[in-house]
Amino acid sequence: MSHEQLDARRMLCPMPVIKTQNKVAMMHAGDVIDVICTDPGALNDIPAWARINGHEIINTVQTDDEITISVRVGA
Protein backbone atom coordinates (compact mmCIF):
# COMPACT_ATOMS: atom_id res chain seq x y z
CA MET A 1 0.00 0.00 0.00
CA SER A 2 1.47 3.36 -0.86
CA HIS A 3 0.83 6.60 0.96
CA GLU A 4 1.21 9.69 -1.20
CA GLN A 5 0.91 13.41 -0.79
CA LEU A 6 -0.45 15.99 -3.15
CA ASP A 7 0.25 19.67 -2.75
CA ALA A 8 -2.80 21.51 -4.06
CA ARG A 9 -2.21 24.67 -2.06
CA ARG A 10 -3.32 27.91 -3.69
CA MET A 11 -5.19 26.01 -6.36
CA LEU A 12 -8.81 26.90 -6.81
CA CYS A 13 -11.55 24.38 -7.29
CA PRO A 14 -11.89 22.34 -9.34
CA MET A 15 -8.09 22.15 -9.80
CA PRO A 16 -7.48 20.26 -6.50
CA VAL A 17 -10.10 17.72 -7.62
CA ILE A 18 -8.55 17.36 -11.08
CA LYS A 19 -5.06 16.89 -9.64
CA THR A 20 -6.35 14.35 -7.12
CA GLN A 21 -8.26 12.47 -9.81
CA ASN A 22 -5.23 12.31 -12.09
CA LYS A 23 -2.93 11.13 -9.34
CA VAL A 24 -5.41 8.55 -8.06
CA ALA A 25 -5.73 7.16 -11.59
CA MET A 26 -2.12 5.97 -11.21
CA MET A 27 -2.59 4.52 -7.72
CA HIS A 28 -4.07 1.22 -6.57
CA ALA A 29 -7.05 0.19 -4.48
CA GLY A 30 -6.27 0.64 -0.80
CA ASP A 31 -3.55 3.29 -1.36
CA VAL A 32 -3.95 6.54 0.52
CA ILE A 33 -3.38 10.08 -0.69
CA ASP A 34 -3.25 13.18 1.50
CA VAL A 35 -4.40 16.22 -0.43
CA ILE A 36 -3.23 19.50 1.08
CA CYS A 37 -5.22 22.48 -0.11
CA THR A 38 -6.17 26.02 0.76
CA ASP A 39 -9.46 26.50 -1.13
CA PRO A 40 -12.31 25.66 1.27
CA GLY A 41 -14.32 24.58 -1.78
CA ALA A 42 -12.26 21.38 -1.66
CA LEU A 43 -14.06 20.43 1.57
CA ASN A 44 -17.13 19.94 -0.55
CA ASP A 45 -15.69 18.97 -3.91
CA ILE A 46 -13.18 16.28 -2.97
CA PRO A 47 -15.69 14.27 -0.88
CA ALA A 48 -18.30 14.64 -3.67
CA TRP A 49 -15.77 13.43 -6.22
CA ALA A 50 -14.78 10.54 -3.92
CA ARG A 51 -18.40 9.45 -3.41
CA ILE A 52 -19.09 9.45 -7.15
CA ASN A 53 -16.00 7.48 -8.02
CA GLY A 54 -16.04 5.01 -5.16
CA HIS A 55 -13.18 6.34 -3.01
CA GLU A 56 -13.30 6.92 0.71
CA ILE A 57 -12.43 10.00 2.75
CA ILE A 58 -10.67 8.69 5.83
CA ASN A 59 -9.62 11.93 7.49
CA THR A 60 -10.00 15.69 7.20
CA VAL A 61 -7.81 18.07 9.17
CA GLN A 62 -8.45 21.77 9.00
CA THR A 63 -6.13 24.45 10.38
CA ASP A 64 -6.47 28.21 10.02
CA ASP A 65 -5.31 28.27 6.46
CA GLU A 66 -4.80 24.72 5.31
CA ILE A 67 -6.94 21.68 4.81
CA THR A 68 -5.64 18.12 4.50
CA ILE A 69 -8.03 15.56 3.12
CA SER A 70 -6.99 11.92 3.16
CA VAL A 71 -8.53 9.70 0.53
CA ARG A 72 -8.37 5.92 0.37
CA VAL A 73 -8.47 4.76 -3.23
CA GLY A 74 -11.41 2.48 -4.00
CA ALA A 75 -11.44 -0.66 -6.10
Partner: protein, 350 residues
Protein backbone atom coordinates in the same frame (compact mmCIF):
# COMPACT_ATOMS: atom_id res chain seq x y z
CA UNK B 1 -29.41 -10.48 -23.83
CA UNK B 2 -28.16 -7.56 -25.88
CA UNK B 3 -25.06 -5.80 -24.63
CA UNK B 4 -25.70 -2.70 -22.57
CA UNK B 5 -24.53 0.32 -24.52
CA UNK B 6 -22.42 2.98 -23.00
CA UNK B 7 -22.22 6.71 -23.60
CA UNK B 8 -20.11 9.58 -22.37
CA UNK B 9 -22.04 12.80 -21.73
CA UNK B 10 -20.72 16.34 -21.62
CA UNK B 11 -21.76 17.60 -18.20
CA UNK B 12 -21.80 21.35 -17.73
CA UNK B 13 -23.57 21.34 -14.39
CA UNK B 14 -26.75 22.83 -15.84
CA UNK B 15 -30.16 21.30 -16.23
CA UNK B 16 -30.01 20.34 -19.91
CA UNK B 17 -27.08 17.97 -19.73
CA UNK B 18 -28.58 16.51 -16.57
CA UNK B 19 -31.83 15.76 -18.41
CA UNK B 20 -30.06 14.38 -21.46
CA UNK B 21 -28.38 11.80 -19.24
CA UNK B 22 -31.58 10.92 -17.40
CA UNK B 23 -33.41 10.36 -20.68
CA UNK B 24 -30.78 7.84 -21.75
CA UNK B 25 -30.65 6.18 -18.35
CA UNK B 26 -34.39 5.57 -18.75
CA UNK B 27 -33.51 3.58 -21.83
CA UNK B 28 -30.98 1.48 -20.01
CA UNK B 29 -27.89 3.18 -21.41
CA UNK B 30 -24.93 3.31 -19.06
CA UNK B 31 -23.59 6.86 -18.93
CA UNK B 32 -20.43 8.44 -17.59
CA UNK B 33 -19.90 12.18 -17.49
CA UNK B 34 -17.07 14.34 -18.71
CA UNK B 35 -16.53 17.96 -17.75
CA UNK B 36 -13.99 20.32 -19.23
CA UNK B 37 -12.36 22.98 -17.11
CA UNK B 38 -11.34 25.97 -19.21
CA UNK B 39 -10.54 28.30 -16.32
CA UNK B 40 -13.52 30.48 -17.22
CA UNK B 41 -16.17 28.15 -15.83
CA UNK B 42 -18.55 29.60 -13.28
CA UNK B 43 -17.72 27.64 -10.17
CA UNK B 44 -18.75 27.56 -6.57
CA UNK B 45 -15.48 29.06 -5.43
CA UNK B 46 -16.10 32.38 -7.11
CA UNK B 47 -19.33 32.65 -5.18
CA UNK B 48 -17.59 31.65 -2.00
CA UNK B 49 -14.91 34.33 -2.20
CA UNK B 50 -17.23 37.15 -1.23
CA UNK B 51 -18.61 37.34 2.31
CA UNK B 52 -22.25 37.80 1.48
CA UNK B 53 -22.20 34.86 -0.87
CA UNK B 54 -20.86 32.51 1.80
CA UNK B 55 -24.11 30.62 2.11
CA UNK B 56 -24.58 30.30 -1.60
CA UNK B 57 -23.71 27.07 -3.30
CA UNK B 58 -20.10 26.23 -2.76
CA UNK B 59 -20.58 23.05 -4.63
CA UNK B 60 -19.15 22.24 -7.99
CA UNK B 61 -22.25 21.89 -10.13
CA UNK B 62 -20.85 19.24 -12.45
CA UNK B 63 -19.89 17.02 -9.51
CA UNK B 64 -23.23 17.64 -7.91
CA UNK B 65 -25.14 16.73 -11.08
CA UNK B 66 -23.08 13.56 -11.46
CA UNK B 67 -23.96 12.58 -7.93
CA UNK B 68 -27.67 13.17 -8.53
CA UNK B 69 -27.48 11.03 -11.66
CA UNK B 70 -25.35 8.41 -9.98
CA UNK B 71 -22.74 8.50 -12.73
CA UNK B 72 -18.97 8.74 -12.74
CA UNK B 73 -17.53 12.12 -13.69
CA UNK B 74 -14.19 12.80 -15.30
CA UNK B 75 -13.00 16.39 -15.05
CA UNK B 76 -10.44 17.35 -17.63
CA UNK B 77 -8.13 20.33 -17.39
CA UNK B 78 -8.13 22.02 -20.82
CA UNK B 79 -6.85 25.42 -19.68
CA UNK B 80 -3.85 25.46 -22.02
CA UNK B 81 -5.56 24.07 -25.10
CA UNK B 82 -8.53 26.34 -24.58
CA UNK B 83 -6.37 29.43 -25.13
CA UNK B 84 -6.35 28.79 -28.85
CA UNK B 85 -10.15 28.42 -28.88
CA UNK B 86 -10.59 31.74 -27.13
CA UNK B 87 -7.90 33.62 -29.03
CA UNK B 88 -8.59 32.33 -32.54
CA UNK B 89 -12.21 31.23 -32.85
CA UNK B 90 -12.87 30.29 -36.45
CA UNK B 91 -16.57 31.01 -36.03
CA UNK B 92 -16.11 34.21 -34.08
CA UNK B 93 -17.47 35.46 -30.77
CA UNK B 94 -20.98 35.74 -29.38
CA UNK B 95 -22.33 38.88 -27.74
CA UNK B 96 -19.22 39.10 -25.54
CA UNK B 97 -15.90 37.25 -25.60
CA UNK B 98 -17.65 33.88 -25.70
CA UNK B 99 -16.52 31.74 -28.64
CA UNK B 100 -19.45 29.36 -28.05
CA UNK B 101 -19.54 27.54 -31.36
CA UNK B 102 -15.79 26.87 -31.44
CA UNK B 103 -15.98 25.98 -27.76
CA UNK B 104 -18.66 23.35 -28.39
CA UNK B 105 -16.73 21.91 -31.33
CA UNK B 106 -13.61 21.82 -29.17
CA UNK B 107 -15.33 20.10 -26.26
CA UNK B 108 -17.12 17.49 -28.35
CA UNK B 109 -13.81 16.93 -30.15
CA UNK B 110 -12.06 16.41 -26.80
CA UNK B 111 -14.77 13.92 -25.85
CA UNK B 112 -14.12 12.04 -29.11
CA UNK B 113 -10.42 11.93 -28.22
CA UNK B 114 -11.18 10.81 -24.71
CA UNK B 115 -13.41 7.98 -25.92
CA UNK B 116 -10.56 6.79 -28.16
CA UNK B 117 -8.06 6.98 -25.31
CA UNK B 118 -10.44 4.97 -23.11
CA UNK B 119 -11.40 2.43 -25.76
CA UNK B 120 -10.94 -0.33 -23.22
CA UNK B 121 -13.98 1.07 -21.38
CA UNK B 122 -16.13 0.57 -24.48
CA UNK B 123 -17.96 3.85 -24.99
CA UNK B 124 -20.33 3.67 -27.97
CA UNK B 125 -21.37 7.29 -28.43
CA UNK B 126 -21.30 10.87 -27.14
CA UNK B 127 -24.15 12.84 -25.62
CA UNK B 128 -24.81 16.54 -25.08
CA UNK B 129 -27.71 18.42 -23.59
CA UNK B 130 -27.92 20.80 -26.55
CA UNK B 131 -31.32 22.12 -27.58
CA UNK B 132 -31.94 23.76 -30.96
CA UNK B 133 -32.54 27.48 -30.61
CA UNK B 134 -31.59 27.58 -26.95
CA UNK B 135 -28.49 29.70 -27.35
CA UNK B 136 -28.17 32.36 -30.03
CA UNK B 137 -24.72 31.34 -31.17
CA UNK B 138 -23.93 27.69 -30.74
CA UNK B 139 -27.29 26.00 -30.45
CA UNK B 140 -29.03 26.69 -33.73
CA UNK B 141 -30.37 24.25 -36.27
CA UNK B 142 -27.60 25.30 -38.65
CA UNK B 143 -24.82 24.85 -36.11
CA UNK B 144 -25.76 21.36 -34.94
CA UNK B 145 -24.28 19.58 -38.00
CA UNK B 146 -21.24 21.90 -37.88
CA UNK B 147 -20.50 20.75 -34.34
CA UNK B 148 -20.96 17.08 -35.27
CA UNK B 149 -18.73 17.38 -38.31
CA UNK B 150 -15.94 19.66 -37.15
CA UNK B 151 -15.55 17.83 -33.84
CA UNK B 152 -15.11 14.56 -35.67
CA UNK B 153 -17.99 13.00 -33.73
CA UNK B 154 -20.26 12.85 -36.81
CA UNK B 155 -23.25 10.64 -36.21
CA UNK B 156 -21.91 9.36 -32.91
CA UNK B 157 -23.13 12.59 -31.33
CA UNK B 158 -26.61 12.25 -29.87
CA UNK B 159 -28.64 15.14 -28.42
CA UNK B 160 -31.50 13.41 -26.63
CA UNK B 161 -33.41 16.65 -25.91
CA UNK B 162 -33.78 17.67 -29.56
CA UNK B 163 -32.94 14.47 -31.45
CA UNK B 164 -36.35 14.31 -33.09
CA UNK B 165 -35.64 17.60 -34.87
CA UNK B 166 -32.36 16.28 -36.25
CA UNK B 167 -31.34 13.52 -38.64
CA UNK B 168 -31.03 10.05 -37.15
CA UNK B 169 -27.70 9.27 -35.52
CA UNK B 170 -25.94 5.94 -35.35
CA UNK B 171 -27.22 5.01 -31.85
CA UNK B 172 -30.77 5.55 -33.13
CA UNK B 173 -30.28 3.72 -36.41
CA UNK B 174 -28.69 0.77 -34.67
CA UNK B 175 -31.52 0.65 -32.16
CA UNK B 176 -29.25 1.20 -29.14
CA UNK B 177 -31.64 3.98 -28.20
CA UNK B 178 -35.29 4.35 -29.12
CA UNK B 179 -35.71 7.57 -31.12
CA UNK B 180 -39.39 7.64 -30.24
CA UNK B 181 -38.50 8.16 -26.60
CA UNK B 182 -36.22 11.09 -27.31
CA UNK B 183 -37.41 14.73 -27.43
CA UNK B 184 -38.01 17.53 -29.87
CA UNK B 185 -37.37 20.56 -27.69
CA UNK B 186 -36.52 23.79 -29.44
CA UNK B 187 -36.35 27.47 -28.70
CA UNK B 188 -35.58 29.46 -25.61
CA UNK B 189 -38.65 28.42 -23.67
CA UNK B 190 -37.47 26.42 -20.67
CA UNK B 191 -40.87 25.05 -19.70
CA UNK B 192 -40.53 21.65 -21.39
CA UNK B 193 -37.22 21.07 -19.60
CA UNK B 194 -38.66 22.10 -16.26
CA UNK B 195 -41.62 19.78 -16.79
CA UNK B 196 -39.34 16.91 -17.77
CA UNK B 197 -37.18 17.57 -14.70
CA UNK B 198 -40.30 17.39 -12.54
CA UNK B 199 -41.35 14.11 -14.12
CA UNK B 200 -37.96 12.71 -13.11
CA UNK B 201 -38.38 14.07 -9.60
CA UNK B 202 -35.53 16.56 -10.05
CA UNK B 203 -36.29 19.76 -8.20
CA UNK B 204 -32.94 21.26 -7.41
CA UNK B 205 -30.84 22.28 -10.36
CA UNK B 206 -28.56 25.11 -11.40
CA UNK B 207 -29.91 27.44 -14.05
CA UNK B 208 -27.03 29.51 -15.32
CA UNK B 209 -28.45 32.74 -16.70
CA UNK B 210 -26.12 33.56 -19.58
CA UNK B 211 -24.16 30.43 -20.15
CA UNK B 212 -21.77 28.04 -18.56
CA UNK B 213 -18.86 30.44 -18.33
CA UNK B 214 -17.68 33.94 -17.50
CA UNK B 215 -16.99 34.76 -21.13
CA UNK B 216 -20.69 35.42 -21.69
CA UNK B 217 -20.57 38.09 -19.00
CA UNK B 218 -20.14 41.62 -20.34
CA UNK B 219 -18.26 42.90 -17.32
CA UNK B 220 -15.89 40.02 -17.35
CA UNK B 221 -15.28 40.29 -21.09
CA UNK B 222 -14.59 44.02 -20.78
CA UNK B 223 -11.97 43.33 -18.13
CA UNK B 224 -10.36 40.65 -20.25
CA UNK B 225 -10.14 42.93 -23.29
CA UNK B 226 -8.77 45.74 -21.12
CA UNK B 227 -6.06 43.42 -19.82
CA UNK B 228 -5.03 42.39 -23.32
CA UNK B 229 -4.97 45.99 -24.48
CA UNK B 230 -2.93 47.18 -21.54
CA UNK B 231 -0.36 44.42 -22.04
CA UNK B 232 -0.35 44.70 -25.78
CA UNK B 233 -0.63 40.94 -25.89
CA UNK B 234 -3.41 38.43 -25.59
CA UNK B 235 -1.39 35.96 -23.59
CA UNK B 236 -2.96 35.06 -20.26
CA UNK B 237 -2.19 32.90 -17.29
CA UNK B 238 -4.54 31.18 -14.89
CA UNK B 239 -3.88 33.82 -12.21
CA UNK B 240 -4.91 36.58 -14.62
CA UNK B 241 -8.26 35.06 -15.44
CA UNK B 242 -8.98 34.22 -11.80
CA UNK B 243 -8.24 37.77 -10.69
CA UNK B 244 -10.68 39.16 -13.26
CA UNK B 245 -13.43 37.49 -11.22
CA UNK B 246 -12.57 39.35 -8.03
CA UNK B 247 -12.68 42.92 -6.72
CA UNK B 248 -13.04 46.38 -8.22
CA UNK B 249 -10.73 46.91 -11.15
CA UNK B 250 -9.50 50.48 -11.47
CA UNK B 251 -7.05 51.65 -14.11
CA UNK B 252 -6.01 55.22 -13.26
CA UNK B 253 -3.04 55.11 -15.61
CA UNK B 254 -2.41 53.15 -18.79
CA UNK B 255 0.57 51.53 -17.08
CA UNK B 256 -1.11 49.83 -14.14
CA UNK B 257 -4.38 48.57 -12.73
CA UNK B 258 -5.55 48.23 -9.14
CA UNK B 259 -7.62 45.27 -8.02
CA UNK B 260 -9.29 46.34 -4.79
CA UNK B 261 -11.13 43.84 -2.59
CA UNK B 262 -14.78 44.60 -1.91
CA UNK B 263 -14.97 42.79 1.40
CA UNK B 264 -12.98 40.72 3.88
CA UNK B 265 -13.50 37.53 1.89
CA UNK B 266 -11.97 39.08 -1.22
CA UNK B 267 -9.16 40.64 0.84
CA UNK B 268 -8.21 37.21 2.10
CA UNK B 269 -8.35 35.82 -1.40
CA UNK B 270 -6.13 38.58 -2.81
CA UNK B 271 -3.64 38.11 0.03
CA UNK B 272 -2.85 34.75 -1.53
CA UNK B 273 -1.38 36.56 -4.55
CA UNK B 274 0.99 38.88 -2.69
CA UNK B 275 4.06 36.90 -3.67
CA UNK B 276 3.31 37.41 -7.36
CA UNK B 277 1.80 40.90 -7.50
CA UNK B 278 2.62 44.22 -5.84
CA UNK B 279 0.11 44.87 -3.06
CA UNK B 280 -1.15 47.83 -1.07
CA UNK B 281 -3.14 48.05 2.15
CA UNK B 282 -3.73 50.60 4.87
CA UNK B 283 -1.84 50.30 8.18
CA UNK B 284 -3.39 53.16 10.12
CA UNK B 285 -7.00 52.23 9.37
CA UNK B 286 -8.79 49.09 8.37
CA UNK B 287 -9.30 48.75 4.68
CA UNK B 288 -9.21 46.44 1.69
CA UNK B 289 -6.29 44.52 0.25
CA UNK B 290 -5.34 45.74 -3.21
CA UNK B 291 -3.12 44.16 -5.84
CA UNK B 292 -1.41 45.98 -8.66
CA UNK B 293 -1.11 44.59 -12.16
CA UNK B 294 1.17 46.21 -14.70
CA UNK B 295 4.38 48.23 -14.75
CA UNK B 296 4.17 49.68 -11.30
CA UNK B 297 6.89 52.08 -10.21
CA UNK B 298 7.52 54.78 -7.62
CA UNK B 299 5.91 57.47 -9.74
CA UNK B 300 2.61 55.67 -9.31
CA UNK B 301 2.79 55.05 -5.55
CA UNK B 302 1.07 58.24 -4.37
CA UNK B 303 -1.85 57.94 -6.77
CA UNK B 304 -2.32 54.22 -6.12
CA UNK B 305 -2.13 54.65 -2.35
CA UNK B 306 -4.57 57.57 -2.46
CA UNK B 307 -7.10 55.43 -4.30
CA UNK B 308 -6.72 52.41 -2.03
CA UNK B 309 -7.08 54.69 1.02
CA UNK B 310 -10.32 55.99 -0.47
CA UNK B 311 -11.88 52.53 -0.14
CA UNK B 312 -10.93 52.01 3.52
CA UNK B 313 -12.16 53.29 6.87
CA UNK B 314 -9.73 56.18 6.65
CA UNK B 315 -11.43 57.65 3.60
CA UNK B 316 -12.26 60.90 5.44
CA UNK B 317 -9.04 61.12 7.45
CA UNK B 318 -6.43 63.77 6.67
CA UNK B 319 -3.78 61.16 6.37
CA UNK B 320 -3.64 57.40 5.95
CA UNK B 321 -0.53 55.28 6.23
CA UNK B 322 -0.27 52.42 3.79
CA UNK B 323 2.09 49.55 3.13
CA UNK B 324 3.28 48.95 -0.40
CA UNK B 325 4.89 45.59 -1.02
CA UNK B 326 6.77 44.77 -4.18
CA UNK B 327 7.57 41.05 -4.50
CA UNK B 328 11.29 40.36 -4.09
CA UNK B 329 11.96 44.01 -3.31
CA UNK B 330 10.25 44.48 0.00
CA UNK B 331 7.91 46.80 1.86
CA UNK B 332 7.67 50.53 1.92
CA UNK B 333 5.40 52.70 4.04
CA UNK B 334 3.73 55.71 2.54
CA UNK B 335 1.53 58.41 4.07
CA UNK B 336 -1.07 60.00 1.88
CA UNK B 337 -4.38 61.84 1.78
CA UNK B 338 -7.18 59.63 0.48
CA UNK B 339 -8.56 60.73 -2.87
CA UNK B 340 -11.92 62.47 -2.73
CA UNK B 341 -14.80 60.38 -4.05
CA UNK B 342 -15.09 62.54 -7.17
CA UNK B 343 -11.41 62.20 -7.89
CA UNK B 344 -11.74 58.47 -8.47
CA UNK B 345 -12.95 58.96 -12.02
CA UNK B 346 -15.73 56.84 -13.47
CA UNK B 347 -13.69 56.12 -16.57
CA UNK B 348 -11.01 54.49 -14.44
CA UNK B 349 -13.36 51.67 -13.59
CA UNK B 350 -12.74 48.74 -15.90
Amino acid sequence: MARQHKAVALISGGLDSMLAVRVLQEQGIEVEGINFYTGFCVEGHTHAIRNHDKDKQKRNNALWVAEQLDIKLHIVDVIEEYKDVLLNPKHGYGANMNPCLDCKIFMVGKAVEWVKEHHQDGFDFIVTGEVIGQRPMSQRKKTMPIISEESGADDLLLRPLCAKNLPETLPEREGWVDREKLYDFSGRNRKPQIALAKSFGLNDFATPAGGCCFLTDKNYSDKLVDLWKARNSREYEMDDIMLLKVGRHIRPDSGFKLIIARDAGESKFLEGYRKQFPSIYALSHSGPMALVDGNFNEEHYALAAGIVARFGQGRNADEVELDINIPEQGHQQIKTTPLAADDVLQEWYV
